[in-house]
Amino acid sequence: MFDVLVIGGGVIGASVLRELSKYDLKICLLEKESDVCMGASRANSGVVHAGFDAAEGTLKAKFNVEGNLMMEGICKELGVKYKKNGSLVVAFSDEDLNTLQSLKARGEANGVGELEIISAEELRELEPNLSDEAVGALYAKTGGIVCPYELTISLIGNAMDNGAVLYTDFEAVSAKKEKGAFTVTASDGRQVQGKIVVNCAGLYSGKVAEFFGDDSIKIGARKGEYILLDRECAGFVTRTLFFTPTKLGKGVLVLPTVDNNILLGPTAEEMDIPDTETTQEGLNWVIEKAKKMCKNIPFYNTITSFAGIRAYSDRHDFIVEKSPKVEGLINCAGIESPGLTSAPAIAKYVVNGLIGALLPLNKNVEFNPYRRPDYFFKNLTDEEKNQIIKKDPTYGRIICRCEQITEGEIICACTENPRATTVDGVKRRTRAGMGRCQGGFCQPYVAEIIAKCNNLPLTEVTKSGKKSNLLQGVSK
């Protein structure tokens, strides 16, 4: 019997789990996929928003501003890359310039600091590759970037290091409540018991709430397609560039990632049946819009394109509340943008505010906010690296040449919380296969390491779980 079950291993579930692991509680994360971070949190812009976007008084505004202030500290503890690169909302017309004034006022009302309207000249000095048509911008110095899957995986890993339990391939399909505790059943028949359930199931949070007996949540899905450029383009832009929002929507972003790639996107396509296919129209639209934002975009350095799904609710604000229907169920749903930024603040509120009202929260005296140093091999000096290589020569063998990832780091990803069991899992934890050759050289080696660490034949190794086997038998 667990004290708290968290359903959904995205950034919200991960943040809640890690916040819970600070207390003396038995906690468990239920994830329906073979790995954590497989939904919205694995494919989004990675922007840590300043907080001028959401209307005053909304949960979005409140959690965004709080989360923005918390993000740097959390990333530092977990060794997750974070950069306060600043955001620019770029105006292309007088009308846009007017909108910037109201955005600035809204941001100030929300409590966002360091907001400034800058001229076209100042703008060009900051971002020389910006379009000549730009006439000014709102500069939010507190805007930042983070790697969303690195953050999510690290939060879960740290929570597990502090005692949290993870069940993968656990697709919750039904729940019943008896004697003040929930029994949640998975599609494969496994069962788990918990006193409190936090529903962080993203796209599926409406469905999950429903089988608990709460039909109050209506979720829609929006697809976003992206194009990623080689980190050889580092410095093409250094800040996150937004179009000024109009009635027609927000347009695409052009921004650097913490790993020095350049990211273009997303589209915003309403989906009846969610999928993560890229489309020719979508990618062309991204290219067209990005070209309006910047000149001379080095598209020849494209290394991949992808799509992510974001969930939104019919309330058009975050839902972070005790279920109005089911005692002991807490819903975190409709967490669209700025959900990533808001995650730490949402988690704090859910744990201290909502769970604290239901369960005693006693400090976990052994809680360690830091991750094992093995994760930070890349950041060490050559001398420090050589000391590790002397003890473990696998750290001297580079497997992914594009991102310079060693065998030791990949083994670490396959053996440390939360363990990678798939090629994509290794990729999201280490960046092996994320570079310009997209795994062309390293994939066979990564697959062999996964097979060895998990005691599997190579033919059983998958790209991302289920039936995504890399190979279809042996050659003659």
Binding site: C437, V474, K476
Partner: protein, 414 residues
């Protein structure tokens, strides 16, 4: 650590360069190879056809490599395996890492870049659809089949008619897979004619020219692709879609010289070859740093890689023994219907003939290839056929080189 000549890469280019440098009089030569063995990509090319030009016999890739590895061993040339070069600077300091030594640096008198190339991936093309398992570049599939002994799939569609794609169409067929189609967006194949005949025609595998994959399907594993014909602007033509059920898509859509180290060192690159700008000695625009093989220009035949590497090795040795020579550069340039010319510079300070390598932009029949210096035609050759997939060469004799006074242009007239 100090060595006279450091060669980055132990594939065909690095091996031939090492032997030539040694035979050129420099005994302190060291090869840094990131793989587990010498030979580079040849180790996975178990088909034959290698060495026809150089050895007048048909060898497999590993056999071809072995001839050079033997020479390296006979000479006692030092090599480090599983050793990845991390950085390189203009002072010729090379930083590398391997499991045994950890991170270490070598100060060299001369460096030969021989890192080869990589395959362009699906991602670089923005091919729409899902991202399931079963999408490989042709070389990755070749590694799985020939080295690891596994089948990447059973029902295959190949995009791109580069040589590796053609070879893999045959290889997968021989291994019992069904190759449904090879699609090529261009109106011609970028592969060698002999590979079209021996790998596709002989096995009845259809080649769809002017076609591309417009959608990939499948959630866990690939389940199918849609291909479409393209117009002159390479845009898919609506109504020409054709669907294939398959579990595997192979990409053979071009090779890119792996010049990240070259770039980080600040060596001038050619936007056309995506390799370093060199003179006929294969010296880059940094004195004492040479480049050869596929890191310099993507060759069709390994025989030419060896030939080019020997030039680099020989002149690298001369650089170490004699120091800087005389530098008196003239540019070469690609004229009408020519996509690039290498070397990009002719150094008149160096004696001897200069062999110009170049590629034509399209398929041409009964054409004339001309070399001009300024407006003066200095060499002319008639060709029955010239295709982009086969590199062309012409030799400027030493006397002609000495008389050059204006930039050299190679052009093709139909």
């Amino acid at each position: 650590m100090k060595h006279d000549i450091v060669i980055i890469g132990g594939g065909p280019a690095g091996l031939a360069a090492a032997v030539a440098a040694f035979d050129g009089g420099v005994k302190d030569v060291v090869i840094l190879e990131r793989g587990e063995e010498l030979g580079g990509i040849l180790n996975q090319c178990i088909h034959n056809g290698f060495g026809l030009t150089r050895f007048k016999e048909s060898l497999s890739g590993p056999e071809y490599a072995e001839r050079f590895i033997d020479k390296v061993r006979e000479r006692g040339i030092k090599y480090y395996l599983e050793t990845t070069v991390i950085s390189l600077d203009k002072n010729k300091t090379v930083k590398a890492v391997n499991p045994e030594l950890g991170f270490f640096t070598i100060e060299a008198k001369s460096i030969i870049l021989a890192m080869g190339c990589r395959e362009r991936s699906r991602g670089a093309l923005n091919v729409a659809g899902t991202r399931p398992a079963g999408i490989y570049s042709a070389g990755t599939a070749q590694k799985y089949v020939n080295v690891k002994g596994y089948m990447p799939g059973k029902e295959v569609v190949i995009l791109g008619s580069g040589d590796i794609g053609l070879i893999m169409a045959r290889r997968m067929t021989l291994e019992g897979a069904k190759v449904h189609a090879v699609c090529e967006i261009m109106p011609y194949s970028s592969g060698l004619k002999r590979n079209i005949v021996q790998c596709l025609d002989d096995f009845g595998i259809p080649l769809y020219l002017n076609h591309t994959i417009t959608k990939i399907e499948g959630t866990d594993r690939v389940t199918g692709v849609t291909i479409s014909e393209v117009d002159a602007q390479k845009r898919p033509i609506t109504g020409t879609e054709r669907h294939f059920s398959c579990d595997t898509v192979l990409f053979s859509v071009g090779l890119i010289p792996e010049n990240e180290l070259t770039k980080s060192c600040g060596i001038t690159l050619s936007p056309k070859t995506r390799g370093a700008v060199v003179s006929q000695t294969r010296e880059t625009m940094e004195r004492g740093i040479f480049a050869c093989g596929n890191v310099l220009q993507v060759h069709d035949l390994v025989d030419f890689v060896s030939e080019e590497a020997e030039i680099a090795g020989r002149y690298s040795a001369q650089y170490v023994l004699n120091g800087e020579g005389v530098y008196d550069f003239l540019d070469t340039q690609a004229g009408d219907n020519i996509s690039y010319v290498l070397p990009q510079k002719i150094n008149k300070g160096v004696d001897g003939n200069v062999k110009l390598f170049f590629r034509v932009k399209n398929t041409f029949k009964n054409c004339t290839i001309r070399i001009k210096s300024g407006n003066e035609v200095i060499l002319e050759r008639k060709k029955k056929i010239a295709v982009p997939g086969e590199m062309e060469t012409l030799i400027l004799t030493a006397d002609k080189v000495q008389n050059l006074s204006s930039p050299v242009t190679v052009e093709l007239e139909v």
